[in-house]
């Protein structure tokens, strides 16, 4: 066992960091791909049950990771409906679980952002003849820099959760061990320097990603108004 700052030089630590980023960034990309258009469609569309859908979506932002983990576990386990895929206890399963976990966050936050913008745009776009999905995508693209916040909220949730990846990944050393599950394990084993090192790295990465996103947003706002 090495002492705290020296543990940062260990290869196994960086392997864990890289896998964590791969899993969470993949989940964010997938959830954004589905969640942003979904949020925009709900914001702009008028259909029966829309209000109920908004309430459900907002409530799902608080999905407990362990519940998502359990659900995905049941789906992917050998006896489950998707058991044939054989992806349980792989990084793919972790990506699926985190995508489900953060999809409601990205969809709900982008729904709110697009709906606020829609009040300003609606008349003008209708006057120009933009309707339905065309109008929704126009607004989505126009407020793209504000949507960074929605995506970052999803990333924050994905990189911080432990319950879902623990259940569907299994925390297998060298295969599915990510920062949060490693921290939980090392803490219970008493390897506090490694747990502490991982915690530090996790926080620095999240901070760096947020800072980068903020800078991009600021620069874009200066340029595009």
């Amino acid at each position: 066992m090495q002492d705290f700052p020296y543990v940062l030089a260990e290869a196994r630590l960086w392997q864990i960091v890289v896998l964590s980023l791969e899993v969470s960034l993949s989940a964010v990309a997938l959830a954004a791909l589905v969640g942003l258009p979904l949020g925009a469609a709900i914001a702009v569309g008028r259909f029966p049950g829309r209000q109920a859908l908004i309430v459900v979506l907002n409530a799902l932002m608080g999905l407990p990771p362990v519940v998502v983990g359990l659900f995905v576990y049941l789906m992917l386990s050998r006896a489950g409906p998707l058991g044939a895929l054989g992806v349980l206890f792989t990084p793919e399963a972790m990506v699926i679980a985190q995508t489900i976990l953060i999809l409601p966050i990205i969809a709900a936050l982008s729904r709110q952002a697009v709906e606020d913008a829609w009040r300003e745009y609606e008349e003008q776009l209708r006057s120009l003849g933009a309707h339905g999905s065309r109008a929704a995508l126009t607004v989505l693209w126009d407020i793209r820099f504000s949507l960074v916040t929605a995506v970052l909220a999803g990333l924050g949730r994905a990189s911080a959760e432990v319950g879902a990846v623990m259940i569907v990944g299994g925390n297998i050393d060298g295969v599915t061990r990510v920062m949060t599950t490693a921290i939980a394990l090392e803490t219970s084993k008493g390897d506090l320097p490694l747990a502490l090192g991982l915690g530090l790295v996790l926080m620095v990465i999240v901070l760096a990603l947020n800072a980068a996103a903020h800078l991009v947003k600021e620069a874009a706002q200066r340029r595009y108004g």
Binding site: E120, Y121, E123, Q124, L125, R126, S127, L128, G129, A130, R134, T138, D142, I143, R223, Y224, G225
Partner: protein, 227 residues
Amino acid sequence: MILPLTLAQVSFRDIIEPVSLEIEAGPSTIILGANGAGKSVLMRLMHGLLAPSSGTLSWSRSGRHAMVFQRPVMLRRSALANVVYALKLAHVKEAEKHASEALEEVGLAHVAHRSARVLSGGEQQRLALARAWALHPEVLFLDEPTASLDPTATREIEIIIRAFDAAGTKIVMATHNLGQAKRLGDEVIYLHQGRVVERAPVDRFFSQPKTAEAAAFIKGELPWALS
């Protein structure tokens, strides 16, 4: 020609009382009235942004009409791209070429590649006019297009509107500015509390208003007429 536009007993909630009138081709029409008289709602009914609560609105045939709002909404893209966007929605071929010409028309060619949102209020309104003009509408609705602009920008907008009028576009403009009504209008439709109380050629409306409401409005608004 898509005109005349015929309104038969058109009403909207309690904002517009049933009104029947015809908007003919030719003279530019000013919809005049105080704030809250229903000018904007009447224009939106005509443009099709609002559906009447009762009555019917009919164009003589289908065709293009456009609208410029008091506060134009520009997309976060270049001035040129904003015009191109409108043209593509209208399935106009060679959108870039027509968009450049429209910008030239309103004197904005030099800011074509600047982001539309960082332009001044006056420039944004000229861009809105270019965006509407590029569509070659037969009727152009203008809802108080200069209400939030300074005198210089207002003058520039009025010059452009006059040019559109001269090119044969039917102008239907809402305003509460009497000077502007005189400068740009051929006829006046005067709205008071959701009712059309008077319709007259612009000279006669100002010299011999037939209704007490119109006379009071002209008198009360006189200080602005001088601007």
